[in-house]
Symmetry: C2
Subunit: 346 residues, 2 copies
C-alpha cells in the first residue's frame, strides 16, 4: 500500500473498510458487515493522514448497530463501523502531529483515515505498547477507573464482585478495587480465565459461570459476607441474581449489558429482586467514561503508575488481520476473547 | 376503660390489640389478623403508660408480615402488628414525660402500651393536630423529605414525576419538589385525587392511572421534556414504564413498592428497560427514613415552616374505631385511602 504523498495530492491505491450492511437481528452475523475497497483518502489541508494499526472491537458497539438511540446515535446503513483505533501518522500538515507519531483516535473499521486533527491524541511514549492507548489506558481502562472509584467506591475490607472479570474493563475494575483494599471476586467464563483471575491477578475468588447453574448460590459461597459493590458488565439476569446478596448501602455499577445487547428490551430478563433497593438502601448507577473527560489526565496518571508498579496487569487478545474484524467482534458475545480484544492490521 | 393507677400496681380492666394470626398470601385478608383482649399493662418502674389515640396503617408493614427479611425483621406469629402511634401519657414515673403529654411512638395496633421511654418523643405543641406527628411530620413526611432532597435533588425547572402522589409520602414529596422550583406531575388513582393534586396542591399535571392503559404514553404526554426525577411508591412496573422517558443524569427514588409487596419477587414484573441506566446515566436508590435520624430536627423545622407558610399541604384520612384497623390497612392496597390514613381510637 502506498503512503500518502502530500497536501491536496490524490493518494494512489485503495484501502479497505467495513460498513454496516444491515442491522443485526439478535447476535450479529458476518453478513451484517460489508467489506468495501475504496480509494485512499487524501491529506486534508492543515490535517493529517493516519494508517490504522490496531482497531478495537467492543461489545458496546452492538447498541449502535440497531435503530434505537442508546448512549450514542445509531449508525446509518453503509456507514463505517465505529471503533477506537491506534495508528501511525503517515503525513501531516497539522502543527500538533508529525509523520511517525502514534495517535489514538476513533477512525473505525478502516485501514486509513484522514482527519483535521480533532478528537485525536498522540500516544505518549510510556514504554507500553501503543495498543494500550485503546485498552487499559483507553476507554476500557477509563471506564473501569471511573466506574469503580466514582460509583463503586470500595472501602478497605469490602467485598467487590466483578462480572466479565477477565475482560478489558472487568480485569482493570477488579484490580483497582484491590488497590483500594477490597476483597475482589470475579465472574468469568471457563477455567483458564478463572485461573488467571486468582493466579495472575490475585483475586480472592473466581466463579466460572459456565460451570454454575445457580449464580446466586455460587456468589453466596464466594462472598460469604455478601456483596458491597457489584461491578456488572453482563446485564439484568446477572444483577438480579446478585441483588439478594447485596449488603446494606451496596452499590451496583451498571457498566455493560453484554447479555442484553442482542435482544430488544421487552425480551430481556427483568430485574425482579428490587425489594433489596429499599431493604438494603442500594444505589444502582450507569456510567459512560466520556462524561469524565476532564478527569482523564488524572486517570491516565494513576493507571500508568499502577501498571509500572505491577499492581495493574492487563491482557490483550490480538487478532491478526483486518479482514477478521467482524468475527472478532461477534466472538465477544460468546466469550471467545480473553482480555482486551484488538485487531492488528498487518 | 380505667386509667392506670400507679407504679407496680396492677391495672384493672382489659384492652384490645391485633396480632398476626397467619402470614398473608397475596393481598392481606381480615383473617390474617386476630383481635385479642388482654389485661391492661402496668406502669413499669421509672416508665410510663400511654393510651394510643391514633394508630397508623402503612403499606410498608406488608413486608413484615411475610417470613422474609426486608428492611426490618419479619413479625412473629402472635406478635402485635407494628405501627406508628400517637397517644396521651396516662401515668408516668419517667422524668421526660408527664401525664397529659402527647407522645409519638411505635406501639403498634393496640389500645394501651407500657414503656421505659425509649423510642418515644413528646409531640411538640405546634398548633397542628398531634396526629401529624405520625403523618406529615412523621415517617411519611420524613421519607418524602430525605428521599426528594437527598436522592431526587430536583433543580429549578426540572421535571419531577411522583407516583402514589395523593398519598402521605407522595403528596409531601411533590410539594417539596415544587418548593425547590421543579415542575411536578403526579400519578394517582381516580379523578378526585388528580383534581386535588392540580387544584389544591398546584401540581403541573396529574395522571389518573385507572384511566390510562399505556402509562409510558401518558407520562410522555404529561412530561414532554422527559423526567429528571422519578419518586416512586409503586414498584417495578411503574419504574419500567418511566425508564424510557428518563433524562440524562436522571434520578429514581425507590421509596415504596406498594404493587409488589403482595407477591413474591419471582412473580413481580421485572425492570426490563434498564438500558437507560447507561444510556442516560441514571441513578436509582432506595431509602429508609430511619437512616437519617440525626437530621430529623432540621427536617421537622423545614416541614413545619413550609406547613405554616402554606407551601406544604397535607390530608389525613381518619378511620374511626380501633376494630377497623385491618380493613383500613387492606384498603391501602386498593387505593381506598385519600391522604395519610390513620385509625382514630374512640
Amino acid at each position: 500500500m502506498s503512503a500518502a504523498t502530500g497536501s491536496g495530492t490524490a493518494t494512489t491505491g485503495m484501502h479497505r473498510r467495513f460498513v454496516l450492511a444491515r442491522r443485526p437481528d439478535g447476535l450479529p452475523q458476518v453478513d451484517d458487515f460489508r467489506l468495501e475497497s475504496v480509494p485512499l483518502p487524501t491529506l486534508p489541508a492543515g490535517g493529517l493522514l493516519v494508517r490504522n494499526r490496531f482497531v478495537s472491537v467492543d461489545p458496546g458497539t452492538r447498541g449502535r448497530l440497531g435503530d434505537r438511540e442508546t448512549y450514542a446515535q445509531p449508525l446509518a446503513l453503509g456507514e463505517v463501523i465505529q471503533a477506537a483505533t491506534v495508528g501511525t501518522v503517515e503525513a501531516s500538515e497539522h502543527p500538533k502531529f508529525k509523520a511517525g507519531d502514534w495517535v489514538a483516535a476513533a477512525f473505525g473499521w478502516q485501514e486509513w483515515a484522514a482527519s483535521d486533527g480533532r478528537g485525536i491524541r498522540v500516544v505518549p511514549d510510556n514504554g507500553l505498547s501503543p495498543s494500550t492507548a485503546i485498552g487499559v489506558l483507553g476507554i476500557p481502562g477509563l471506564t473501569a477507573y471511573f466506574g469503580m472509584l466514582d460509583i463503586g467506591a470500595p472501602q478497605p475490607g469490602e467485598t467487590v464482585l466483578v462480572t466479565s472479570a477477565a475482560g478489558a474493563v472487568g480485569s482493570a475494575a477488579g484490580q483497582i478495587a484491590m488497590i483500594r483494599g477490597a476483597r475482589v471476586v470475579g465472574v468469568a467464563g471457563g477455567p483458564a480465565k478463572c485461573a488467571w483471575l486468582t493466579g495472575t491477578l490475585g483475586f480472592a475468588g473466581a466463579i466460572d459461570h459456565r460451570a454454575v447453574s445457580d449464580m446466586t448460590a455460587a456468589v453466596a459461597a464466594a462472598c460469604p459476607e455478601g456483596v458491597d459493590v457489584l461491578f456488572d458488565n453482563v446485564g439484568n439476569a446477572m444483577i438480579d441474581s446478585v441483588l439478594p446478596l447485596m449488603k446494606r448501602g451496596g452499590r451496583i455499577v451498571v457498566c455493560g449489558q453484554m447479555a442484553d445487547y442482542n435482544r430488544p428490551a421487552e425480551q430481556a430478563p427483568g430485574l425482579r429482586n428490587t425489594r433489596a433497593f429499599i431493604g438494603q438502601r442500594l444505589t444502582m448507577r450507569g456510567l459512560v467514561a466520556f462524561d469524565h473527560v476532564r478527569q482523564y489526565p488524572q486517570a491516565w496518571a494513576d493507571l500508568t503508575g499502577w501498571i509500572r508498579a505491577g499492581r495493574l496487569k492487563y491482557r490483550e487478545d490480538v487478532v491478526e488481520g483486518f479482514e477478521h474484524l467482524p468475527q472478532a467482534f461477534i466472538g465477544l458475545f460468546t466469550g471467545d476473547n480473553f482480555g482486551r480484544r484488538l485487531v492488528h492490521l498487518r
